[in-house]
């Protein structure tokens, strides 16, 4: 389902009434102008929606367009309401529900620092290899690994690392695109 700013979806609503909360990934194309992120975040906090993850970056420099990827949760009605509220913001060009489109590609990058000696250190390195994480920094007592993958891959990796002397983690949040040749 896609909502173009100011235009509505067709006259018929697709989703059934449901009280089950689902997690959805929304892609929002916006003018890259001051305050646009504050508008989006303010909308979520002001209307009591929750943000599980949010990433933003300019994607079309020439056209001053940024892409915001938001993972949010709610019943299908709430998700539709969130999309409509987003589309109402003046700098918003388009809102696409990637979860609804199905099978979107979702990737995240994480930097994971572990510290330790002996067996812990060997185990950390072995696991990093198993996950195809790159070692981007190493000292005699620590590693920093770089891993990109789906959020669940990263969760798993981070969980395992807690056993191997995890010190800290930085995650980028989600980047997501639909499959196939169509753009949003």
């Amino acid at each position: 389902m896609m909502i173009v700013a100011g235009q509505s979806q067709s006259a018929y609503f697709l989703e059934e009434t449901s009280t089950v909360s689902e997690s959805h990934t929304l892609s929002v194309l916006v003018d890259n102008e001051p305050g646009v992120l504050a508008r989006v975040i303010g909308l979520f906090s002001g209307r009591g929606y929750n943000i599980e993850s949010l990433t933003v970056s300019e994607v079309e420099h020439e056209n001053h367009l940024s892409r915001i990827t938001i993972v949010t949760g709610g019943t299908p009605q709430v998700i539709t309401q969130i999309m409509n509220q987003l589309a109402r913001l003046v700098p918003v060009h388009r809102v696409v529900n990637l979860t609804k489109k199905g099978d979107a590609i979702e990737r995240e990058l994480a930097l994971v620092k572990v510290a330790g000696k002996g067996e812990h250190r060997v185990e950390a390195l072995r696991l990093a290899q198993a996950f195809s994480a790159r070692t981007v920094d190493a000292t005699l007592e620590s590693f920093v690994f770089e891993l990109s993958g789906s959020p669940t891959d990263i969760d798993r990796f981070v969980n395992l690392m807690t056993e191997c002397g995890l010190v800290e983690v930085a995650r980028t949040g989600l980047a997501a695109l639909s499959r196939g040749r169509e753009a949003m």
Partner: protein
Amino acid sequence: MTRQMTGAEMVIQALIDQGVDTIFGYPGGAVLPIYDELHQQDKINHVLVRHEQGAGHAAEGYARSTGRVGVALVTSGPGATNMVTPLTDALMDSIPMVCITGQVPTHLIGNDAFQECDTVGITRPCTKHNWLVKRIEDLPRILHEAFRIATTGRPGPVVVDIPKNIQFQTGTYTNYKGQPQTQYNPRVKGDEAAIREAVALLAAAKKPVLYTGGGVINSGPAASTLLRELVKLTNMPITSTLMGLGAYPASGPNWIGMLGMHGTYEANMTMHDCDVMVCVGARFDDRITGRIDAFAPNAKKIHIDIDPSSINKNVRVDIPIVGDVGYVLEDMIKVWKQTHPQQDKAAMAAWWQQIAVWKAKKCLSYRKNNDVIMPQYAIERLYQLTKGHDTYITTEVGQHQMWAAQYFGFEEPNRWMTSGGLGTMGYGLPAALGVQIAHPDSLVIDIAGDASIQMCIQEMSTAIQYDAPIKIFILNNQYMGMVRQWQQLLHGNRLSHSYTEAMPDFVKLAEAYGGVGIRAEKPDELDGAIEEMIRIRKPVLFDCRVANLANCFPMIPSGKAHNEMLLGDASDDEIDSAIGSTGKVLV
């Protein structure tokens, strides 16, 4: 056409190019360059208010009564923060307003400079859109886009925050009027298939109802004309929200009164029992629906709204139509005429008969009193005695507002200005001022409460300065009546701080401002006093002493359904037990 000019000149030029002839404002350090330009021209009339909140509400009244955009000009810091209430009010009620604020110079932004505040940050949630102009090159584009965004789609307030150094800088001005500067482009035409389906549903209805709102007014006078035509074609009963009064005439044969918390018995029962509901430019607000899971339980619902986010927000509808009310009504009428459907005449007759039974309850009747002026009676007399006049009504917020909605009949759109969504006490007087400035020869009356009127009373002084002969008709019951009523309903009649122990002498107050004060204390002196008020060509404070403890009925208690109304003859016991524990937490 482009020209070199300063930022301050651009502001004035853009206003002129947008066809603005009146603005409401208050000066200060950060807008002095703009005020200096105002001083050197004569195309724009500036109305100097006494408080920035007054400027905002006056702009709202001006906008609502003319269908044009209201413009306010205020300084940075406190000037801007004083605008927060009117901006929120305009956002909730979809009133087109452009507010220009001054800001400290760009190099001081972020330094906690004198009279600096984060105006765009503070007003972001209470505007449709806002801008901080950091480069003179952007100013013409932003100024014109501000007008386009305020007035198109679902109208609303916008803020343009202009640092003082930008006002002094010189740049190239281009008149972008009518040329979109962003991709914002709201949809106005409704989906054709949905419209056809809606007409078919409507035609087959046995118990239809039209529920209309402020969107009809916002769509322009043509929408009200079309609405009347649709009612005539379909013979449907029609009710309206507080915001939509006047779109269909109160004297019209199909009118069943306002609906909602203080709506008529017949309107709410019709809503509850209908089988097809057409919501036109309204938004299923909680004042309207009552208990949501018992709202029109057997109805198929059609919802026409220009804002897609209003659809399925509170109530799930069967046929949503996103579009401008005027366009959609026009198409519906066209389809109806093309298909000339056969309505179930017998069912419609039975429906009207049922409505007549509900009407016979006479839910707006009240106990007459020969010694004390009943507030309902005061509004009835005011209505009767102003009928021949070209009248505009504004209100404050409270019982008097609801009595005005119930007992004053509106025949035309744009004649009724009230703070619906936000419920802002203090709205009515400045709004009346804005209306009167736009309609200098009309009779403009603010129906007020004794508490509300003290919230923006300072604008009496503005009314005097501009010879705006507004009439402030105060239903003086000594209480914050609506608060007292709720305390009676919810809190065992413990009247915590809802009685005003020190009340000004409103007659003397009027005189102190240079206006005229009138007091009426007995029913038999009321007519004469109202007639005198109408005759006076000066601002009037009318102190109408009314019964102190009258309650506003009918009422759907919070958390109750449309068919569980409290009527005027409710006993004290019924009133005391009307609201259950779940209703108590609701407002």
